[in-house]
Symmetry: C2
Subunit: 216 residues, 2 copies
Amino acid sequence: MTITPPPAPEAAGPRVPRTPRGARTRARLLEAAEHVFATVGYPDASIVKITEEAGVALGTFYVHFAGKKEIFDEVVGDLSHRVRQAMSEASGRGRTRIEAEREGFRAFFRFTAEHPALYRIIRQAEFVSPEAMRAHYASIVDGYAEGLAQARERGDIRAVDPTVAAWALMGAGELIGMRWILWEQADDIPEHIYEALMDVVQGALAPTTTDERPAR
Amino acid sequence: MTITPPPAPEAAGPRVPRTPRGARTRARLLEAAEHVFATVGYPDASIVKITEEAGVALGTFYVHFAGKKEIFDEVVGDLSHRVRQAMSEASGRGRTRIEAEREGFRAFFRFTAEHPALYRIIRQAEFVSPEAMRAHYASIVDGYAEGLAQARERGDIRAVDPTVAAWALMGAGELIGMRWILWEQADDIPEHIYEALMDVVQGALAPTTTDERPAR
C-alpha cells in the first residue's frame, strides 16, 4: 500500500497545551488511553484508569480533554496519522510502483506488529465513533488512490479503478495483518506469507502485455 | 469469493428444543438478538431487551440459552453459516472459475445488504468472543482456499497461495462491502464498483500467458 504524505493532523481540538510540560502530559494521556482502550475496550475504559496508567492526577485529564469520547477520537486520529506517515515514508523509498507497494505493505505490517491497538481501536470505533472510523479509512484510501491514479497515468499499472483498487488492497492488507500478526501475536509477518500476498497484489496491478485478459 | 458447501452448524449447544413451537421460539430469540446486538452493541444489549423484542417471557430465554454470551455466540455462528451457504450456492452456479468468483462475491454483497448486522456483530466479537470471530473467518477461508486450490490444480488460476489469496480477497470484499453497502445504507453494490472489483480479482487470479510477469 503506497500513499502520498498525510496532511498534518486535524486542528488538535480546543485544548492545545502551551508549555512543553503540558504537551508531555497530553502525550502521556494519549499513550495511556491507547493502551486502556485496546486492552479493556471502550465501555470498560474509565478516565480514572487512563489517568492512573498515565500517572497524572484525575483533574489534569480535563485540562487536556473534554471527556472519554474526545480522547478516544484523538487516539484514533493519532494512530491513523502515524500509520499513514509510516506507510508514506516507506513507499517513497520504492523506485518502481511494485517496489513502492512492497515497501508500503511492509510498513503497514510493521506498524501493526508494534501497535496492535490499531485494529482493536478502529474496530470498536464502529460503535463508539463511526465518524472517526470513517475518517481513518478515508484518509488512507485517499492517499493510496491518488498514488494508484498517478501510476496508472504513467502506465506503471493497468487500468484499474484507483479508488476501488485502493479499498480492495487495503482490505487485503488488513485481514492478512489480522490473521498473521494479531492472531499469532507475531513481531512481523512471516516472509512467505508476505511474498504470497505481494504476488496477489502484483497480479492485481501489473500491466498486461496484451489488452485482452484471458477470457475465463 | 467461492466457497465449498459449509458443514452443518456446530452441535447446537446444550439446549436443542424438542418441539416445533420450541424451535420457533428459539429462532425468534436469535433473530431478536441479532437485531439488538447490531443496534445497541453488546455492552448495552440486555436479555430483557432481547426477550421484549422477541415477544417472549424473560424466563423462556433461559429455557433456550444460558446467558448473553451464549446467545451472542450462536448469533455469530448462525450469521456465519448463512453467509457461507449463500456464497456456496451462488458460486456453484458459475461455469468457470471467474464466473464462480463473480457469483460468490455477488452473494456476499447481497447478504451484507440484507444483514448489515453481519459486520457490526463480527466486529464487536473481537472483544466479546474472539473465538467466535476466529471461527467465522476461518470457516469462510477454509472453504474458499479449498476452491482456489482445486482451481489452481486445474490450471484455471495462476499459482497463487490459496490460503493467502483467500484471506486477501475476503478482505477486499469486506472493505468494499463496508464502504459501498454499509456506509451508504445501500440495497446492493453499485454495478460499476462491482465490475471494478471483479477486474482487480481477475487480475489477481487469472493465469498469465507467459510464466514471466512484467518485472516492474
